[in-house]
Symmetry: C2
Subunit: 455 residues, 2 copies
């Protein structure tokens, strides 16, 4: 039966678009989470056009077959893990990018990599700011599905702030072209906004019009070390009251050492924590902003404060920060947290995470997009040891509960995916969950779009 | 029967919250449109708390009575016009504003005026940027319902960009508390974004957490005159390719004269058009930006270019721009357009509006938030002359059709309301209209929330 069903799809799209051998499907089963086992997909569909995506959804609706959309598989919440008997719809072949300098926009396909969009924009003296740490590897489609953030957000916002238009294929195969190249548009309900961050549960994004901005001014990069993460966090709170640096990142001592174990970046292994701060204010304002930031660091107990106006040197520090997740991966199996809190609660959440780590006997290195209160504690454990697994799961839940208790969120930018779906009702409560279910049912009555993700 | 129904509500909320005399209800029937006659409301409800809003919606659901939400009644698209037999729910008594400088947020009630939020923020050295021309008079609730824009948008974005949290009462009276003081949050579907700009058709906003930013740097204001609007528009396109001024407004000759007829602002009555441009870049960057803008104006045929670093002098020019709608109101009855086009199409849409005015023998003065392609042609006519009315209606439709043909929108910031609802399907097409209907039905199955607006 299932064989006939797949044959029908191959008949529509051609053999080149449908992968059915177990060996060939293997590389489409996982995302970047290591803690959850993926299912066995029925087939992997690799469309080349929006029309092929529509045909796939019409076929899926007809037969009630679930569809898991997939970008580059770099997700950190299990959002594109293969599901038993479902089809994984990989957008990796749809990679077109067209920059329009007159409207300062880029029209892109979902499989285009974030880094490639940045390169194309730069060729015209323009910039696409959203920069998840994985920007070299991740797809725009994945960024849109999760409303990805990055290191730039404290000043430049998140992916959703850059979306002017979306082409979305709905569960039944209908195509809606939302928005366009116009900057302001309130015609009708804000449906465009409903899809960015909907993690593939409401529709499949097959095209996007992204807003670009002029290339930023050259930046100065400041690195300050602290005796402990809480002192660094208090500094962040003070900076946030008055300034808007273009980057404001935190790394704790464990994170610093994980990264230095990977490669020598020149970070201080003995520091309890460091802050990585950037200013791209134009001209003399940049010097003034760096001086103000340095002063605030000193006031809050910084051990050392260093800054550079050299772009390459500044990039090395950013690279060290971006190397974090990969560096920690070498230590064991990892559960990725993505909790967010209002910025003034940052000291409390960091102290709380440290307590949870101690209570559960675990190594939980932490980095944070501190300027927007978004932390990435990584719970490291031994997947072959049931006791370690149990302690890690308990710590994972405890950290999310801590964030909620501080008026925060269980996920600031990675998405709920599958690994946090159970914790979502605790944060949102029954009324929002009921509303969510109503919206989901309205757009996907059969429940075939990414089942198990979010809800 | 209806008397009993209202008595029931008075019993629940008390007489102070429910207005039933025709005389007292009169001032709640209209908004700022003069072209459409409002209906006769069953009652006007003026809640003091979220609980009273919930009680009202439970009562309305129980009896199938429609509810028209209302802020300050300054809307320009008929969105809060009273509907026969419906209840107008005025949020004007819910005006609380609490600024939290540590999180750089303001928690506000929907009846709070935009100007009062700005004042409260300023007391803490902070700023709430969205500035519709009516900001002295309009409510935050109305701003949220329409995703209001203003003169600041070219650099500072729209209302939706400043919403971190919303309390929304749904059609059945349930309360959902979406978002909060955290800056980044992707937990669950982006429902927060669904309500901003939904024009009271999906729920009643009873509270909002707004993002504030540090007060802007002092600004320089530049005014350039041109022989005609198309030359000014070409200048805007050139500026937009590389710069992001903090304001970029256009006024055509007819608009200039309408404003000067109201009061002497010192604008050049003989100019075919003028551009009002501001830069709040910090320090020396501002001087450079002003010089660059002046150069571009000269290159594109500016007759005069003048700039001032004096804040009060600069504000006078902005005040002249903001006086436009009130000034045109003196000329006759007005149909307010709010079309938006991609910025490179600005010259074409202005030329097209001029042609439409000529073809229909009408006076259609134009201003524009030119930096984001959003124009406000005001169609002036004599409501007592059926021929004038017919020509005005035809011109109104023609302008919207022109915008759509240029890849634009029928409404950039005012909302669809009631006066543009008929044109919406032409812009969105049947697939988006079907999707819109599905979302609307999921949230408001009885269709009691602002019937006739948007859909």
């Amino acid at each position: 039966m299932s064989g006939d069903v797949v044959t029908e799809l191959v008949g529509e799209l051609g053999e080149g678009a449908v992968v059915t051998s177990r060996a060939a499907m293997e590389s489409y089963r996982r995302d970047a989470t290591t803690s959850t086992q993926p299912g066995a997909p029925l087939a992997v569909v690799r469309p080349r056009t929006t029309g092929e995506v529509q045909a796939t959804m019409r076929w899926a609706s007809r037969h009630g077959i679930a569809v898991v959309p997939r970008g580059a598989g770099t997700g950190l919440s299990g959002g594109s893990l293969a599901v038993d008997g479902a089809v994984t719809l990989s957008l990796d072949r749809m990679t077109a990018i067209v920059v329009d300098p007159d409207t300062r926009t880029a029209v892109v396909e979902p499989g285009a990599l974030n880094a490639d969009v940045k390169k194309a924009a730069a060729e015209h003296g323009l910039w696409y700011p959203p920069d998840p740490a994985s920007f070299d590897l991740c797809s725009i489609g994945g960024n849109l599905a999760t409303n990805a953030g990055g290191l730039c957000c404290v000043k430049y916002g998140v992916t959703a702030d850059y979306v002017l238009g979306l082409d979305v294929v709905l569960a039944d195969g209908a195509l809606v072209a939302l928005g366009g190249k116009r900057v302001k548009d309130v015609a009708g309900l804000p449906l465009l906004r409903l899809f960015v961050g909907s993690e593939g549960t409401l529709g499949i994004i097959t095209g996007a019009t992204l807003r670009l901005v002029p290339a930023p001014a050259p930046a100065s990069t400041l690195v300050a070390t602290f005796p402990d993460p809480v002192a660094a966090a208090r500094t962040v709170v003070a900076v946030g009251r008055r300034l808007r640096p273009s980057m404001l990142e935190l790394m704790d001592g464990s994170a610093i050492n994980a990264v230095e174990d990977l490669r020598s970046f020149g970070l201080d292994r003995d520091a309890g924590a460091l802050l990585l701060i950037r200013s791209d204010a134009p001209g003399t304002a940049r010097t003034a902003e760096v001086a103000e930031v340095a002063r605030i660091c000193d006031e809050h107990g910084a051990l050392t404060v260093f800054h550079t106006d050299d772009a390459d040197e500044g990039e090395l520090f950013a690279a060290a920060r971006r190397a974090f997740a990969g560096a920690v991966d070498r230590r064991g199996t990892v559960l990725h947290e993505d909790v967010g809190v209002p910025v003034p609660r940052l000291p409390e959440v960091l102290a709380g995470i440290r307590d949870i780590a101690a209570r559960h006997g675990l190594d939980i290195p932490v980095v944070a997009h501190a300027g927007d209160g978004n932390c990435h504690p990584l719970v490291v454990y031994d997947a072959s040891d049931p006791d370690s697994v149990a302690r890690a799961q308990a710590a994972f839940q405890a950290i999310m509960r801590l964030a909620i208790s501080l008026g925060g969120t269980i996920t600031g930018e990675h998405g709920v995916g599958r690994i946090k779906a159970q914790a979502l009702p605790e944060q949102l409560g029954p009324d929002i969950m009921a509303l969510t279910r109503r919206v989901k049912d309205a757009l996907d009555p059969q429940g075939i779009l990414n089942p198990g993700a979010v809800l």
